[in-house]
């Protein structure tokens, strides 16, 4: 292991983050002790790493669930963060449904304006139903929406390869939450998600998504659009009216028997 090897294999960086195995570590340290060049590089790497870390702590970058190697406690916190984000989206979806429903109700109320007692009763009923539903939703934010974590895939082409991620959906489920690792690029104002099946048919899409965390995205997808088979979820970022691909995620959907 000489300088060429050390540089080629980023031994200094690996040592800086404690990723060298003990034997390599001893060997590298024996070299390091008498090598000003490696010492300079190590100092620089440590400096860069610490500055990056302090920048991140200043930004209070939310913890996300994309790091699969995290400790159970950290992973749990990340899952909670994602679930919280997912619950916000679920509430948003249901609120939207209520808004639409309200519009229909308003038309009916317009017609029934002459009958004050009917109006009042309907309004009261509607208001009560909405309050009850929202309260119910708050109590069970994503309990009925199973969460699946999707990994970034190299290609959006499904081909003959079986995706490594399986999404098993129960028939009783109305929505699922797809949690994605996504580095939030500040250049992108919002994102668009498109779900395509193996035949290339667009199964579902949504746009104007603004990630709740800088490293992850949680999407609530109606379970009814997903049938057994391969799917690719493509995330595109919008910058100045143009969309460019930010990530692709393939998965195999199966249906649970229950």
């Amino acid at each position: 292991m000489d300088h060429a090897y050390i540089q080629e294999h980023q031994i200094v960086s690996q040592y800086a983050v404690g990723k060298l195995d003990p034997a390599d570590c001893v060997e590298f340290e024996d070299h390091l002790a008498d090598c000003p060049q490696c010492l300079d590089e190590l100092e620089l790497t440590d400096d860069f790493r610490h500055t990056l870390r302090s920048l991140e702590s200043q930004r209070e970058r939310p913890i996300d669930i994309r790091f699969a190697s995290a400790s159970p406690a950290v992973f749990q916190r990340r899952v909670v963060a994602i679930l919280a984000a997912a619950s916000v989206i679920v509430i948003g979806v249901v609120s939207f449904a209520f808004i639409r429903e309200n519009r229909g109700t308003e038309r009916q109320l317009e017609q029934a304006r002459t009958d004050a007692s009917t109006w009042e009763r309907r309004y009261h009923d509607e208001h009560q139903a909405r309050t009850d539903a929202e309260s119910q939703l708050r109590e069970t934010p994503v309990a009925s929406a199973p969460l699946f974590t999707l990994n970034l895939t190299r290609s959006a082409n499904l081909g003959a390869e079986t995706p490594s991620t399986a999404v098993s959906i129960s028939r009783q489920v109305k929505f699922i939450v797809l949690s994605l690792e996504l580095q939030n690029d500040p250049d992108f104002q919002s994102y668009r998600a498109t779900l395509t099946d193996a035949a290339g048919t667009n199964a579902w899409s949504t746009d104007d998504i603004v990630p709740a965390t800088s490293g992850g995205l949680a999407l609530v997808v109606p379970a009814s659009v997903i049938h057994p088979g391969k799917y690719v979820l493509t995330i595109e970022g919008r910058h100045g009216g143009q969309y460019s691909i930010a990530g692709s995620y393939s998965f195999l959907a199966t249906q649970l028997v229950n």
Partner: protein
């Protein structure tokens, strides 16, 4: 680790001068290995005051052993010193673990520096790192730096998950470090010119 022929000869010569009782050779040895051994001890000890104590002991023991002729392969001087340093650090923490938890020692050492110059340097370094991150065209390259330096992920794991080759990974790390060096050195030069 292999070193070049000149370095081997130089280490062996230094040892023979110490064995023959040349006092300046002992000072040269300390001067030459002090920085590297400090880094190793700091990593092992996590606290400067402990590392400094262990550094003194390392050189005291090294010189005693060399004088007694216990270094049989003078060309392996560097490894010999490092072994002594590592053994001392291990011994220290074996004793300390019976007295005080390591976590507590490390926490106490993490006191922030209130020196205005240090704060200025820290702010400049932060600006440089921000600039480097902005200059990275691919979000994936940024992700590499975050995952490797902050999230404690292995290189292999990062390459697999992001679909990167080992070469690409190495290149991202190398370029970020070189750019950091370039910008930081430029800043220091500008500061020096400003002071003249």
């Amino acid at each position: 680790m292999s070193q070049n022929a000149n370095e081997l000869e130089s280490a062996a010569t230094l040892v023979s001068r110490i064995v023959s009782g040349e006092a300046t050779a002992e000072a040269e040895l300390v001067d030459r290995y002090k920085r590297g051994v400090t880094v190793i001890l700091m990593r092992a000890a996590g606290q400067r005051s402990i590392a400094e104590d262990l550094l003194q002991d390392t050189f005291r023991l090294t010189l005693e052993k060399i004088r007694r002729g216990e270094l049989r392969e003078p060309e392996r001087l560097s490894g010999f010193i490092c072994n002594i340093a590592r053994n001392l650090a291990t011994g220290h923490f074996r004793r300390a673990s019976r007295q005080e938890p390591l976590e507590e020692q490390t926490r106490l050492s993490a006191i922030t520096n209130d020196d205005p110059l240090q704060r200025l340097l820290a702010a400049e370094k932060a600006a440089i790192v921000r600039r480097i991150l902005d200059e990275l065209r691919s979000p994936r390259d940024r992700e590499v730096l975050y995952r490797f330096y902050l999230a404690d992920q292995d290189k292999d794991q990062i390459c697999l998950q992001l679909g990167l080759s080992s070469l690409h990974f190495n290149r991202v790390l190398f370029r970020a470090r070189e750019r950091y060096k370039e910008l930081y050195e430029r800043f220091l030069r500008e500061q020096q010119n400003g002071l003249r």
